[in-house]
Subunit: 337 residues, 2 copies
DNA sequence: TTTATTTACTTAACCGATTAAGTAACACGG
DNA sequence: CCGTGTTACTTAATCGGTTAAGTAAATAAA
């Protein structure tokens, strides 16, 4: 059972391969009758075109890459859903690359994109990422950053209102009576981390609260190390409110509180950036800043496909900020927003 | 800045393209000196081979496909992690396809694999899947089923001890005093669903408990519909214990209990098949059957790569059952296992 | 010294589709 | 009846690597 090629169809029908190709691509050069004969035989022999032959010739792969730090985070899982939905609709294929929060791995992945394997890239960078390699990529190919963007690089970006969200979270804690608020940050470099930190600091300032010397704890990618880090920070600073800026850190807070026997929200009010669908069933239910993950993925993909369709689309100038929402639950004391 | 090709390297070095290709592939036919010159120039010009040209010629894509119903389920998210880890190590690329629990979409996806786009497939089927199309796929390509396998098809399979796990879950509920136990099933067709149902029934039998006429509720893929379905089932059957056989259904139980104002575990003990890392922080913490998702992904990928490496590997006969574990928490009353 | 073998290349076909350029047959306006 | 279009194809080049087959020169074996 050899693979069916265009040449086999051509031989069977006593036509040239060119005719077959054109017939399959609905070229106007082909008569309706011939077209039908070709389609009929193709269906009969179950012909499926070789994508690599076509990609090679057309210099287009109908494939996009999604580069993310990990999948086991509901934000990314939902974002992939959004991306894939758009891609499937457009007949594109999705290559997934996990950088595992490792800048080195990310570089290796980016390098591969020089090959023409993908027509465009959707990326959410690692906590360690610098602009290296990204500028080149953006120059070479349509790229859309989503969520974890790289500030220094001029490119299309889909983000949430990070500073505003952190500001709201902080205000919410203050409204609930917190005076010694800490922020758990995933990265010193990540612009969304810094924006969240800024929103946090601005809110403190606006409410005449001092910024504790150790208000911001920079966490690592290692959960055991984080656990220790948080424990120490909690004990040393005696926080009464904490903002966890990632989902992983949110659950880490619960773990550490359990270990320290701190009660939430009595001893520590907690608000987390998280898309966990089970946030409302946590004990206590977690007040969250929830990002529109699916929509962000969809928006990023949509932008990318617009650029892929018309190459005079000014992709690099596109910026979209999709608002997140604060959902007040029992891990904090303030009512509503 | 044109794309660097092997031909360009050849011209610059006054060599043939064949020599360049062989040099880059460390062929013994090439002198060490020439090889170094080629590698040096390749590095200097930042040459990246075109994967489609090479795939076309070699009839191998260095790409595998992962077909799953969705990503927003921690089992699949973790499984992807395992798969990707192995793939990255082997220098393979991973195409993700989401069937969205839709058999039709799945068929379309499978059809695409006839094209040679991927060298192998890892698949976890939808709740509606029948053998159609799968047999052909297995005949044509290395395929490994994981978790949601298709019984009728003879192929490599990585599963958990589904019947045993359900048996244990049922026994656990009985030990906690339950007498009217219900099981929430995701599918009538899925073999893992049926095995779980079997384990459930066997446990009831072994403990001299009658099988309620509506003991098993077959759920849909629509969460709103499920909500209604569960509500009705709960009210009509007055369960005192429930086994949710998927993660989605587990959280659905929490939602319905909240809506009905049933207390867990006082009014209803709950045990769920779930890989949620936050299960222990749910309110109440959820007793789970936890599958080794990462390991299953890894095992499936490892098996596939073994088949890709040596084509006389009897892939279709491979079966691996990786045990799951019951983690007793507060949504059930029995101590430990 | 002659023949065989090895080394280090080159030539050219090939993978399977696409497409620019060419062509034969026929229609049509003048 | 001629020239111009149009239709419906074919021919052949092309995308960028890979590889079977060929070759010239150097080396080893007889």
């Amino acid at each position: 059972m050899e693979n069916v090629t265009i040449r086999m169809l051509a031989e069977r029908l006593q036509l040239s391969t060119a005719t077959i190709s054109k017939a399959l691509n609905n070229s106007h050069e082909i008569s309706e009758e011939t077209r039908q004969r070709v389609l009929a035989l193709a269906a009969e022999l179950n012909y499926v075109p070789n994508p690599y032959a076509s990609s090679l010739r057309k210099k287009a792969s109908n494939t996009i890459a999604v580069v993310i730090p990990e999948v086991a985070d509901s934000f990314f899982a939902e974002a992939i859903n959004g991306i894939e939905a758009v891609a499937q609709e457009k007949g594109y294929h999705v290559l997934i690359y996990l950088s595992h929060e490792n800048c080195q791995k990310e570089q290796t992945i980016l390098k591969d994109f020089q090959s023409g394997r993908v027509d465009g890239v959707l990326i959410s960078v690692t906590t360690e990422t610098t602009a290296t390699g990204l500028e080149q990529l953006v120059r070479d190919k349509p790229v859309v950053f989503f969520d974890r963007v790289c500030e220094e690089v001029k490119a299309a970006k889909i983000t949430t209102d990070d500073a505003a969200a952190a500001y709201r979270a902080t205000t919410h804690l203050i409204a609930g009576g917190c005076r010694r608020i800490g922020l758990l940050s995933a990265s010193r470099q990540l612009s969304i981390s810094n924006k969240r930190a800024e929103g946090f600091q601005q809110a403190l300032l606006d409410h005449q609260l001092p910024l504790l010397p150790n208000a911001i704890t920079y966490c690592t990618n290692d959960s055991a190390a984080n656990h220790q880090l948080l424990k120490t920070a909690f004990l040393e600073n005696d926080y009464d409110g904490i903002i966890a800026t990632t989902e992983k850190l949110s659950t880490a807070v619960y773990e550490v509180c359990e270990a320290l026997q701190w009660r939430i929200p009595e001893d520590l009010q907690v608000i987390g950036f998280s898309n966990l669908s089970t946030a409302r069933f946590l004990h206590p239910s977690l007040t969250t800043i929830t990002q529109p993950a699916f929509e962000m993925g969809k928006a990023a993909a949509t932008l990318l496909f617009r650029a892929l369709k018309s190459n005079n689309f000014p992709l690099q100038q596109q910026q979209e900020v999709i608002p997140s929402s604060l959902i007040a639950r029992n891990s904090t004391l303030a009512k509503d927003k």
